[in-house]
Subunit: 495 residues, 2 copies
């Protein structure tokens, strides 16, 4: 192996292992850590993050990156070097006092936000959030200057390499135009679903979750399912950990959550073994990650064939063979019910993107200096009226609902919806190459579908950017057509 | 704070946090990690250990230690500096290629040992163990040269600062003389205990374990109890984690295990908050740690009053009010039964030290070059005959039983028995200062006993060496009298 490249590979493997340790610490804090561990855990995490930061920003790295540029590398190594450079530039672009200031201010702002949301008191948050916006803009300008990007593009690039606002703009404009009509049409004609009548004992729900894991071919010798207040997917290949939250009254929420996280988990589990611990061996960014969770949850698991399988398993597990709410037809209605919601995380597939379009407009305006934090609540409510036709009665159910901005995550929201579009494009391509995919889903087996994902997406690591990867698989650029077609087919065709 | 000292304090706090992270990773590997995580976990651990090693061996540390020597420090800071120096010397004394060679060889030897023990085939282990002894001797010589100690003393000092073989020699000689007679006398006259007749459902055992934790005042907001194949105590203050192993047929094994680990756990939990993350704020070495687990388990929990409390709780939890095996009298007989065993970890309080005396003789001879690994089985069996009057029929139940030597832990064994002696000395001192201690134990409460431990032992951190600490509390040097008195009182007086 060429020397400079080999030095870098060794260093980035160390960084990856520190990040792997941080993933375990983070899982532990969410799932098992007693309250008394919080302070110590915060310190451990800070020390390890600083260690990883020091490893990536060491002066020798820039030198080795320049030397490796002139070395003879194969295609994967070259892609690895590109990813190393991107991470190095992002880590070194921001002055360390700004990094520390952001860490401090976002920690404080998150705490204030929790309180402000509970009290629905935006005024309480405004000063702190203004400071977060100011520092995030400084961060975006520094990142942009180092990479030749506009500030907002520099933030987008943190979450998905090569994502630009010029890609988002036409897509979100089109979604803003078409989705309100689609969701109105669905609401007008969707048949009424019968509500679930619980209780659904949690021990039984856990058995059903096992069935879901088996359906998605999740290997329990390579991962775990646990419970936490906020479901997530974490860990490393070989040890992928997902969590869910059970409620006795409604098992569908836990199952759909498990299926969503399984999509993320299988992406992590399927990373190329030969490139483990190297940047190119990692999952791509948030668009692709979200495309995999939504491919599994929205495209595959909420399909008619799979919901029929799920309904059958649910009737067996809960010993409710005659419960009409658990018929295949009714379960499909329940998991695909469209209704306008004030809350993003409760939104259905047709209206969710409208919540994202709103946030994208507002965060871009804040970062670009066109919207002050003080004006956010009014702008939020105007946007809700325009896009969804409903207006939050208070800020708790309005601009205070999400954690993202208080913790400084500007540029993250678009990935949710772009991931949904990519999922639709990938699923359509998969259906062409795996013609019996839906029959497999009907039998509760992702087998050949997962194999297709492994080969086309998971095994590619960071070899390509999200748009190159999509083009390779589908021949298309990222766009709304497949997603809109999917919505019309699922919700308006009667299919 | 003086500058050089402050720099060191900052560095050692980082080291402590890396070690805290390693403690979580280690707990996770033993308790929850799926099989597929082993490889990644090994790499994470290696990277973090190297990080901690690099922090402590950095050239600037020696410089700062020398500068801090001339700074004005208070008594705790001075003790902290002493402990920093000791750790620095121990870390820098061994050449890094020797450190790596030991890590490699002991990893291999442990694997071979697992196989050799299963097959009771000492020949399979001999070559690898010979290599471990050779490298450990090199390590001991390097450590000894740097600290002005003999090789074996240098190893002892790794596990308990200031422990010297000249302290052990007279104590172990006396134990070797007195204990065989005591255990013979007990065996001849102890009343026969009625065996437990299970099953004791594991869910009920878990409730009983909760009672034991409550008795020892263990705060579950500051720690956890889980299950693992090999029980242990780990974690950090604020997040102390113990494990146990349940068997349906015998709940006493799990309960005594929990009480033992609770003794360790309370020591960790009680470290001085003001010195958290500093070397002086840590627990002292293995003698003191073992003194705390044995104080809790052997001295307090196997006492008549506490076993009577345990018997009452057990009858209630298992709903066996009339089970004669669960009478206070019978339970006391069961947990204090003396019988000669080939296996150290199954030995009772009177014969356990004889197993240790044997290992101490043999490991010292191996390190000093007076005993070759090839001659170990014969020497082992001769020693068993002399000290315990029984001879293992095979090496699996003989010199292959312990993991310590294959993993390079020479000098560790004596701490078990020295801890038992220290526990007896401390318990006797406690009884003088807390006259109603036994009544509290009878009510299932360690309250004032734990308070005494907190003040006298736990809160002292590493301010004193084990012998200074013992002298401060008891006015005595470490010796066998209190322990032998305890044995005669418990087993031969009828009390």
């Amino acid at each position: 192996m060429p020397q400079a490249y080999a030095d870098l590979a060794d260093r980035f493997a160390r960084i990856s292992n520190v990040e792997g340790a941080l993933a375990v610490l983070s899982w532990d804090a969410a799932v098992v850590m007693p309250k008394g561990g919080a302070e110590g855990r915060g310190e451990q995490t800070a020390v390890l993050k600083r260690f990883a930061h020091d490893l990536i920003t060491a002066p020798v790295v820039a030198e080795r990156l320049a030397q490796a540029d002139d070395e003879t590398l194969d295609e994967w190594q070259r892609a690895n070097l590109v990813e190393m450079k991107r991470r190095h530039v992002q880590a070194t672009a921001i002055p360390s006092d700004l990094v520390e200031a952001i860490a401090r201010v976002t920690t404080t702002c998150e705490m204030i936000w929790r309180d402000a949301r509970a009290k629905s008191d935006f005024a309480e948050l405004a000063t702190s959030l203004t400071e977060v916006v100011r520092l995030t803009r400084a961060q975006a300008e520094a990142l942009g200057a180092a990479q030749g990007l506009s500030p907002y593009d520099a933030l987008l690039d943190l979450y998905e390499a090569n994502l630009r606002d010029s890609t988002i703009e036409p897509i979100f404009t089109r979604l803003g135009q078409e989705l309100p009509g689609i969701s109105e049409a669905v609401i007008a004609r969707q048949p009424k679903a019968m509500e679930l009548s619980g209780p659904f004992p949690i021990e039984r729900q856990k058995l059903l979750a096992r069935d879901m894991m088996a359906a998605v071919d999740f290997d329990l010798s390579q991962g775990r399912l646990d419970e936490s207040a906020h479901p997530f997917s974490g860990g490393i290949p070989g040890d992928v950990r997902i969590t869910t939250r059970y409620e006795e009254a409604d098992f569908l929420q836990a199952m759909m959550g498990v299926l969503h996280e399984l999509g993320h988990a299988q992406y992590t589990a399927g990373q190329p073994v030969a490139w483990r611990h190297q940047p190119v061996g990692d999952a791509r960014g948030m668009i692709v990650h979200e495309s995999q969770s939504l491919f599994t949850e929205m495209q595959a698991s909420r399909s008619r064939p799979f919901t029929a399988f799920l309904a059958g398993r649910a009737r067996a597990v809960f010993e409710r063979e005659d419960d009409p709410a658990l018929s295949a037809e009714n379960l499909s209605r329940l998991v695909n019910r469209v209704q306008k919601s004030l809350i993003r995380v409760e939104a259905d597939e047709t209206t969710y993107p409208l919540h994202i379009v709103l946030r994208w407009r507002l965060e871009k305006a804040m970062i670009n200096g066109d919207l002050s934090v003080a004006d956010l609540p009014a702008a939020w409510n105007d946007g809700m009226r325009e896009l969804l036709g409903i207006v939050p009665p208070d800020d708790r159910r309005g601009c205070l609902q999400d954690i993202h901005w208080p913790v400084g995550a500007f540029g993250y929201f678009p990935c949710y919806t772009l991931g949904a579009l990519m999922a639709a494009q990938l699923f359509r391509a998969m259906l062409k190459q795996v013609p019996d995919a839906l029959e497999h889903l009907g039998r509760g087996s992702f087998g050949p579908i997962l194999a297709w994902q492994r080969e086309n997406v998971h095994q590619q690591g960071c070899r390509y950017t999200f748009d190159q990867l999509l083009a390779r698989i589908t021949g298309e650029t990222l766009g709304p057509d497949a997603f809109l077609d999917h919505l019309r087919l699922r919700y308006l065709s009667g299919a």
